[in-house]
Assembly symmetry: C2
Homo-oligomer: 283 residues x 2
């Protein structure tokens, strides 16, 4: 692991690292926020944050305004990149913003040429937490959250791994990617044209078929003035699936808010408090 930069912030530390990933077969960058309680030798729980299309590890860390509350609650935050990167990594042939670099969709690609590097599901659920738990003063308690494409990732990863993440949240998530233009483009490119291969990465399908004994709490925020609400996000489909599955979730809608980090920064403190409530104290 190579330290890229380090900044003190809100009494804690924001650090960026680069490491060679076996999963994605390229160098990966991530950022971590460590609260000041780690200075007292305390191991802290980790919130994994998955960002949206075009983002890197930097957007959340620079724009969400999460550090004051995270420091107060004693929560580390880890933000991975949104795709593999590097000269060797295949991009969309049209260099579009919604496929390829910056748009890994948190799946394990099966289609060439993307299957070589685009293994973001395994990277986020296996290699990255192992790396974090080996190198930083964190315990094994994890929660997951994200925005838009990353909200999709958080819901999918949380629902498929209820023993791993104690709570799940999302801002403006793509809840039913099999059924919207962004998801259809990404899934056909990464997973091929047969929709049955898409289901394991579709939060609404996963919710519809949910049969595990543990139901982790889920909190979703959605702005009413989000420009992608009707065509891409459709949170009501996930809400309906949850009701049919008798899985309690909270979906808050907010008048006037859009799809930007201004929305995330307005409600991130409530999500940190939500995840904090569900971490088990292991002092």
């Amino acid at each position: 692991m190579e330290l890229i930069s380090s900044n003190k912030v809100s009494n804690g530390w924001h650090k960026r690292y680069k490491h060679s990933s076996q999963t994605t077969q390229c160098d990966m960058t991530f950022a971590i926020f460590l609260p000041e309680t780690v200075n007292e030798g305390k191991k802290v729980p980790v919130l994994y944050w998955l960002s949206g299309l075009t983002c890197s590890d930097e957007n959340f860390m620079q724009k969400a305004g999460a550090f004051k509350k995270a420091n107060e609650l004693g929560i580390a935050i880890v933000a991975p990149d949104t795709s593999p990167r590097g000269e060797d990594v295949a991009d969309d042939e049209n260099a579009s913003y919604d496929f390829g670099l910056g748009a890994g969709f948190y799946v394990n690609a099966t289609q060439a040429p993307y299957n070589k590097h685009y293994q973001m599901y395994d990277y986020v659920t296996q290699e990255l937490p192992e790396l974090i738990e080996a190198h930083f003063p964190v315990n094994n308690q994890k929660a997951i959250s994200g925005h838009s494409m990353g909200g999709h990732g958080a819901l999918v990863i949380g629902l498929r791994n209820p023993d791993m993440y104690t709570s799940i949240s999302a801002f403006s998530p793509i809840v039913n990617p099999s059924n919207c233009p962004w998801g259809e483009k990404a899934f056909s490119g990464y997973l091929g044209d047969e929709p049955q291969h898409w289901q394991q990465y579709d939060a609404t399908v996963l919710m519809t078929n949910y049969d595990q004994p543990v139901k982790r709490p889920i909190l979703i925020e959605q702005g009413t003035e989000d420009q992608f609400l009707e065509a891409q996000l459709k949170p009501w489909l996930f809400k309906e699936a949850a009701e049919n599955a008798s899985y309690p979730i909270t979906l808050n809608t907010h008048d006037g808010y859009d799809h930007s980090y201004f929305f995330i920064s307005s409600f991130i403190d409530e999500h940190l408090a939500f995840h904090h409530r569900h971490f088990v104290s292991r002092d």
Copy 2:
């Protein structure tokens, strides 16, 4: 005035505007945050924020994390750009980051070709507040703050206009630009080579010669790990000048913090509270 964008944030609104400026003879962009109290017909005071080198109106608004506290306290925030812009506006011949575009230094340039557009002192102290007070639900109470080059601007503008700004603050300011590489380059380029023309824009010189009856409160934050501390910023020179002038100021130094917005976001709430205390209630 042309509205560029509008985002709801922390129950208030962030808006960007473009307008044709008579002072700088080009289109100027600014951003404004309006707290929710304006919805009740209340006129609110304004904190003017001056950004540092390479910044625009966007950096503070995206990275400072100021909106929750500003909304709570009922303070509007206005962030102008850091220089005139446009094809017609002269830039540094080497396109350097510390002179020309993005580096107006809040002075009225006297040297060709910069004197045509680089009239940022008059823009910030005259045209911009007149525009804001004519078009937004604000009262005439103003405070001023800024970062680095903008901290220089805030100290200079505040000290020269004690009847206009009720309090002054700065993060990591260039306090003595006549006496550091950034300032010497900018002032010789905009103001010519005779240092006596620089004094009206040098906070340490202004403090040394301060003779006005009103002494507005001044609050400065400085990180000890700021990479520009020794060569460019030198806040101790301003502190010493203030002591010699019997002008009480507060200079807080913070272990481990650097020059970035991570530092600003860590202490912006305290600056908002400081300015709020000095606004006179005019309900």
